[in-house]
Amino acid sequence: MMTSLLAYLLIPLSSAVIIQFLKKNDKLADIVSNVSLFAGLLNISYLIFNPQNVRFSFASIADNGFSLIMVLAIYLIAFCVSLFSSGFIPRTKNKHNFYSLLLTGVAAMCGVVISLDFFTLYIYAEALAIVSLAMICYEDNERGAEGAVKYFFLTLPGSVFILTGISILLFTAGTFNFLNLQSIANSGPMSTANMVAVAFLCIGFLIKAGIVPFHTWLIDAYQGAYSPVSAFLGGIATKVSGAYAIIKIVMIFKLFESTAGRISEALMLLGAITIIWGAIAAIRQKNFKRMLAFSSISQTGYIVLASGLGTPLAVLGAIFHLFNQATFKGTLFLNSASIEKSAGTTNMHKLANLENSMPWTTWTSIIALLAAAGLPPLSGFWSKLVIVLALWEEGAKGYAFLSLFFMLVTFAHFAIIQKKIFFGKKAADGEKSREMPVFMLLPVVLLSMIIILAGIFFPHVYSFLMQAVTRNML
């Protein structure tokens, strides 16, 4: 564990415990949760973006840059969800439990990203899974319970495979520690036994990430969960437990060697299938949250495709895309929660012309959707461009064309959503919707601004990520 970042794990955990003692006083629970997350967010932003670092192109960051940016993403999304929930969740619903779960989830996620060996990572990932399970059925209805059960049982194979991989690794390599494994991988071609272990690890984390054909739990979980929980899950939790680990594996092992079997090819192939399946399935969805779930799957496919490639540039693209997706999906899921609360439904056929009644929600969603489709000058354009360039450079021209083509299909989602929900003729349910109060809009506005700023200040982001990648990869 990286002790320098341990505080990020302990503070939310202690806040979670404190909140349990605040059963009577909901407002205080709101404040404790939001303040601790906000403080953490400020802290990590300062750690990364203080002017010293920026001036020297981030050469002087002591810790692992990848972990830092993940902590930033975690705190960002968690803070936004927390702030949003303080307005969204009514008093009657045991708000303090929600906050405790959220904060424990944050602690678990930070544990995942600061751990320095596979076993610790696995422990925290399982903790995260249990917390997510509890959060999914927070609302205490059928859909939530169904989503939770499916989540648990369908990611169970994933956990089994990860454990298998870790045990094999223990026998063959004698260590789980990332640095040791990296030096083993560096010192010569990997033995087949090691590769079997890596293959198991990969498949386990792929299942947890929701790659096709293992994605089915994700759809029902995102749709059935309580809305802010969907934002939390879709925004960051799934990514930390799945995609983060895949990228970490790629950074440690040399997967494109001949003795690695065909792991990198398998990753790329699965990534490509996921992109295609997710994008096409999303087009016909009637429910906004379900469409967002499929869209998430498709974008995770991009991350896995880029990681499968394995070059520094590709990994950079994957990391940046992961961060971007956190912001986009965070915005979109929070907005879907707003729409659900305000208009009473997430069925897209019943919503229309929300631009007039909910302008802020509309415009932040549009920014997120345009960024997801990869339009300049937003951040999504840069991450997609880097991935395509990396693919092209390595000669994977077919995959490059595929990613470009599906940018267009992603854009088709945008066209559908904007036409059905935001613009277009008024429908009955759209009539009674009102805009959310200011502090519920603050999170999505913050996320949208980050999307825009990350796009405009891409050069700085690029130099930071380049540092992170080159220092920690083979």
Partner: protein, 622 residues
């Protein structure tokens, strides 16, 4: 502070400023927009007049993502014209937007952003920076159309425009990336030092770039959004500014840049470009003949004009390229002016239907005068600038050795003149209608830009010495294109006689058509039959020139039908078919996600086994 940054960043910041300003202020938006575009124009003028090449470089993120600008001869010419039309459009819009219901704030925002991004695109020296600006323009095209609230279909048309341009720009993006990788550098000056030959991957890259360029200048088959926008009643200032003037400038800039500066083309590509140019030129002009809507007719004329630019650059000799370039620059003036007159008429009469308009010369004399000058220019009537651009182009075509294309260009300008005679006659002359009784002349804000454009038509005519010497010759010298004799001036000879003969043919055609039908806006009906069959019989009764009509019926009618079917096929391919395909695919995947847990678990296990088999299929497990 480098002067090159002004035309890019000043309009950009002003646009953001305008967005934050309330809708209710009386003059702040207009004044800010006009000032910003005027200052950009002045800086463009300064850049243009300075004799050395100004450059600006900001190393950005390494890995070829450099922000380098360079105002070389080609770039600064394009910049001058682009900022010039921005300024005139902003000025015109100050008067035009007063009468409209759509948001003036967003209009100026879009106008300034488009101006900023187009300046960035023509000044960039790095392919990726240029790509950034070029792609960004597509967003503002969409927002322009979506906020214009033109007619009933403005949202759908905006989406259509966006999709068509986004697809073509995707090809452009791929073309640029391939170019960069083949050449080994993303910097245009470096690529120019060792130009790429068009073979293998370079050929594919060039074609992809060409797709992007053709869509930018609204060539076929990427033009349908514009003609729909014209029919739907989109904002006339937008039509004048973006598809009318700016796109042509950007398109020709990119075409010359890519075809001559970066690549060395061979005969196959040349034939391809020239053929495309001729097809666009003729097809669009013929479609224009059938229109009875002021703006839709002008939209088709605009599409046709882009064909000339393609043809010019395709000739690959100095005269032809000068002609094509001159065509594009002239378009920025006379097509711009024509759309402005359409806006002027529309804002007074609330309609663009030619049947409802007539005799406006009495009530709107200034607009009529501008129309006459611009229409005569675009139809290549001497002594206006259009005539000289056509002459130069024709000489270039003959030099390249393609007499068939020469004939096509002549035919094109004949048809253009017929269409514009119809338009001018029915809207400005002919009998006054009820609607036209309400009209009076437009305000000063709208008249001044129109007049400036009309004066430029005159100024650049009369031998075209000024534009040739100051605009075209420097570019030809910069691109190291040699040419024997001067290209300016009235040159007596067979070409001149042919052009004059063509003009006379057009006039006769119009008079004949008018004589047959009695209504000026139906003056071309004898050329393209109305869809109703009874009209054919009625016309047969009124037949005056029997053998003449026979010839027209046998060759023009089937051609017209074919071309209009081709138009709707393009629509089908770019719109209906893709959405059908994706819908059916989605339906199939929808059936899969039924929620059955057992199914999901089975698939998970099977997936795992397949994965393992795949991963270890190579060499097997030792």
């Amino acid at each position: 502070m480098n002067i090159l940054l002004i035309p890019i960043f000043l309009p950009l910041f002003t646009a953001i400023f305008i967005l934050l300003v309330s809708e209710k202020t009386k003059y702040l938006k207009e004044v800010a927009a006009i000032m910003a575009s005027f200052i950009s124009f002045l800086s463009a003028l300064t850049i243009f007049l300075s004799s050395n090449i100004i450059a600006y470089s900001l190393p950005w993120a390494g890995y070829s993502f450099d922000f380098t600008l360079k105002a070389d001869v080609l770039g600064k010419l394009a910049l001058l014209f682009a900022t010039g039309v921005s300024f005139l459009a902003a000025f015109y819009a100050a008067g035009f937007m007063k009468k409209r219901t759509d948001s003036a704030k967003w209009f100026f925002f879009n106008l300034l952003f488009t101006g900023s991004f187009s300046s960035g695109a023509v000044l960039s020296d790095n392919l990726l920076t240029m790509l950034f600006f070029w792609e960004g323009l597509v967003i503002f095209l969409y927002t322009f159309l979506v906020f214009a609230k033109g007619g009933r279909n403005s949202g759908a048309i905006a989406m259509k425009a966006f999709i068509i341009n986004a697809v073509a720009n995707l090809c452009f993006l791929i073309g640029i990336t391939i170019t960069g990788f083949i050449a080994g550098s993303m910097n245009m000056t470096e690529i120019h030092a060792g130009k790429l030959a068009v073979s293998g991957w370079a050929f594919a890259a060039y074609l992809l770039l060409l797709i992007g360029i053709v869509s930018k200048i609204e060539g076929m088959p990427f033009h349908t959004w514009m003609t729909d926008a014209g029919a739907d009643g989109a904002n006339s200032t937008f039509l004048a500014y973006v598809p009318g003037a700016l796109d042509k400038i950007l398109g020709i800039y990119m075409l010359v840049r890519v075809s001559i500066y970066l690549y060395v083309l061979n005969g196959v590509v040349q034939a391809l470009i020239m053929t495309l140019g001729v097809v666009v030129l003729l097809f669009a002009a013929m479609m224009a003949l059938a229109q009875k809507n002021y703006k839709k007719l002008l939209a088709y004329i605009a599409v046709s004009q882009s064909g000339y630019a393609l043809l010019g650059v395709g000739t690959m000799n100095a005269t032809g390229i000068a002609g094509g370039l001159f065509y594009a620059l002239n378009n920025a003036i006379y097509l711009f002016a024509l759309f402005l007159t359409a806006g002027s008429v529309e804002s007074q009469s609330e309609t663009s239907n030619m049947a409802k308009l007539g005799g406006l010369w009495k009530r709107m004399p200034a607009t009529t005068l501008v129309f006459i000058i611009a229409a005569l220019s675009i139809s290549s009537v001497p002594p206006f600038n259009g005539f000289f651009s056509k002459e130069i182009l024709q000489r270039g075509i003959l030099e390249a050795g393609y007499p068939m294309f020469f004939a096509a260009v002549e035919l094109g300008s004949i048809i253009t003149l017929i269409a514009l005679l119809k338009l001018g006659h029915s809207v400005y002359f002919a009998k006054e209608t009820e609607t036209s009784l309400r009209c009076k002349e437009s305000g000063m804000f709208m008249i001044i830009p129109m007049f400036i454009a009309a004066i430029l038509c005159l100024f650049f005519g009369f031998g075209a010495k000024i534009p040739v010497e100051h605009f075209l010759e420097p570019v030809l010298r910069y691109l190291a294109l040699e040419h024997a004799r001067t290209i300016a001036g009235f040159q007596m000879g067979n070409l001149l006689l042919i052009s004059v003969a063509g003009i006379i043919v057009s006039i006769i055609s119009h008079v004949v058509g008018y004589g047959i039908t009695g209504k000026p806006y139906k003056a071309t009906d004898y050329l393209l039959y109305a869809p109703v069959l009874s009209k054919i019989y009625r016309m047969a009764e009124h037949k005056v020139f029997d053998p003449y009509e026979q010839i027209m019926k046998s060759s023009v009618w089937p051609l017209g039908q074919f071309f209009s079917k081709l138009d709707s096929l393009t629509d089908y391919l770019t719109f209906t078919l893709p959405s059908f395909v994706s819908n059916s695919l989605s339906k199939m995947s929808q059936k899969f996600h039924r929620g059955s847990y057992v199914l999901y678990m089975t698939i998970t296990i099977i997936g795992f086994l397949v994965y393992m088999a795949y991963v270890f299929s190579f060499g097997g497990i030792k």
